[in-house]
Symmetry: C2
Subunit: 383 residues, 2 copies
């Protein structure tokens, strides 16, 4: 008992510290069930915490910056930091513990940067289009298909809208939606909240019930392809999409198998895929969406943009091209370093006579912009 | 150029070291695409590697034991160890870097121990029942339902067998399959390889095409429930299963909604749920499977097992109970510390007149035993 009493002041001090750090804060919605950290307060300040008893130096790396953690007194090697207010949306993050990259056991795992790492979801005040609401919900279906391109089994995820199983005679249009570099078919499902965005749009009558096909767009790059975006570099993806993915979907789902009822969109790398492969295949896709692509510049110097480098002949008969396209949509984050180049190319393409829908959203090269892009894009489809 | 040449001997040494460590080894099948570590050699020795430039002490914790990593010479802070031969099957693992628990960026993330951690898949020679083969494949569908027990939206995963969408007039039996403590609805899908096990059994004509419902069995424990397994502790799960999960499945899928076409099984904690809730509800489930449950003892001293503590009256009319049960199946790993108690209880229940099917498999309290249990159990169902 004497020994226990001796411990009490330490325990009490520790409890006070923990309370001071977390007043007015709640666990992040992206945490695993029961995890108390990371936390967010009402000013969107994040409290990050990790146990590292023998560490000398602990940081947390967020897109917004790096924050140094301090070792708490009177505890068992816990390190903590309260950050500045975080941007709303979803952010990948990792700790650095004595130089080692460390994922947070408090966070669910999200596939990005070619690994399953940590992420934090920061709610955006006033925004509810991706909230989980009391509306009919669709399903996310994982299926395997054999790829003739890689000669291996691959996975894709299909969102089926509410009522798909019950309305066995109904047929549906399909949006093919591609992830960014270092991500995979789970990214639009998890980080993107695709099912919730579509559930809410469909329930509100704002989008037509549709399938959303989320395939894995990572394919071996031909060794002779030039660096960056190119038709040659995209050839394996084009073959995968056109000879494996689209036929698999048309076989296994009740689609309307014509270009007017297929759209191809994607973010970043996937935006380049949608642009280069989608615009070159009007016999398959009549609607194209390219979110935050680096195709136009902004991440490396690619020189003036010439559409003939990517989709030869697209503007030779721009009237026919416009007639074939139900929708050609571009978007970018207003704080993305790709924004200026994107706006320049939108102006350029419009001056060349191409019908281009364009929108931009507050945010950088991050998921909040892509969620908003999908929410803006999907209602325009299949009308 | 001079500076570059100065680096060459170091780079060459580093390359030699890396090669020496990985001769005859290949990346583990559970790695993220492109990750070179962890690796397995033909003797099932694991090579684990992590970058931790400023760390003092790095270990890897596997179920089989803890292995100390050594810092490589002439590189950028890479630590490596080659383990003793690892047991076949799937193992959770984590590094310890200066006392911090660290997940491996080379591993896919698996939900266990209430977090998304690392896992390594060690192939078992001669075993192919969960291989990805060129057979018709079912789908794994994630759906949301509202729980009246927790008053929140929850997720479950449903395996639909090959042909489910095409045969719109066919109805199917359903196996409800529960995970262990610290796991969730993704665990049987990922670690358990449920879809591959069923695809292969169905393709070989060894199991009847069936739905497999993988629900999240984690529910708040009533504060007045005793520690360990009890009817009171399981009451929220029972309510969730019987009033939310089963009705959701019977509403949204083409089931055969009678007890002869429903089975309830689970592993460890889920095995206790199947035993206590399943046996008490013959009006819902006529087949029960309990894999590696701690209900009978072996993890704590629970005293002699009395079935009336868990399913009162089950043996009062054992002839009627046997007639109601199409299958009552128990299994356990031969190296699990629950094995002796399980065998004792099997003998005891049989002596009391209950029909009990029992099997055991080489392995401890791990997924390889549960995959083998499912592979042994599913063909016995719905005959």
């Amino acid at each position: 008992m004497k020994r226990l009493l001796g411990l009490l002041p330490i325990l009490a001090l520790s409890a006070v510290c923990a309370f001071a750090q977390t007043t007015n804060s709640v666990p992040a919605p992206s945490n695993v069930p029961g995890a108390e950290f990371p936390r967010l307060d009402s000013d969107r300040r994040g409290t990050f915490q990790i146990k590292a008893p023998d560490a000398q130096h602990v940081q947390v790396n967020l897109p917004q910056g790096t924050f140094e953690l301090a070792k708490d007194d009177g505890d068992e090697g816990t390190w903590t930091v309260i950050t500045e207010p975080l941007e709303p949306g979803f952010h990948y993050y990792a700790f650095r513990v004595d130089g080692a990259m460390v994922f947070d056991p408090g966070s669910r795992a999200f596939y990005g940067a070619s690994r399953h790492g940590s992420g934090i979801e920061v709610p955006e005040p006033g925004l509810d289009f991706y909230d989980l609401k009391d509306v009919p919900h669709g399903q996310l279906r994982t299926l395997r298909y054999h790829s003739p391109v890689t000669d291996s089994w691959r996975q894709l995820i299909v969102y089926t809208p509410p009522g798909y199983d019950a309305n066995t005679y109904a047929r549906y249009p399909a949006l093919y939606l591609q992830h960014g570099g270092g991500e995979d078919e789970t990214s639009w499902a998890q980080q993107g909240k695709t099912d919730l965005i579509l559930d809410n749009l469909i329930a509100a009558g704002k989008a037509r019930p549709m399938l959303v096909v989320i395939a894995n767009g990572n394919l071996p790059r031909p060794p002779d392809a030039p660096p960056g975006y190119s038709r040659a570099g995209m050839a394996p993806f084009a073959a995968e999409l056109l000879t494996a993915i689209v036929p698999t979907i048309d076989t296994h789902f009740r689609t309307i198998a014509d270009p007017q009822h297929r759209a191809l969109a994607g973010l970043s790398m996937g935006g380049g895929q949608a642009f280069i492969v989608g615009l070159a295949h009007p016999e398959t896709f009549a609607s194209i969406g390219s979110f935050s692509t680096g195709l136009f510049g902004g991440i490396r110097d690619t020189g003036p943009f010439n559409i003939n480098d990517y989709v030869p002949g697209l503007l030779d008969d721009v009237t026919a091209t416009n007639a074939n396209l139900d929708l050609f949509y571009l978007s970018c984050g207003q704080q993305d370093n790709r924004i200026d180049h994107t706006q320049t190319v939108v102006d350029q393409l419009r001056a060349q006579g191409l019908d281009v829908a364009f929108n931009s959203f507050s945010g950088g090269h991050e998921w909040q912009v892509w969620r908003k892009s999908l929410h803006d894009f999907a209602p325009r489809l299949f009308r």
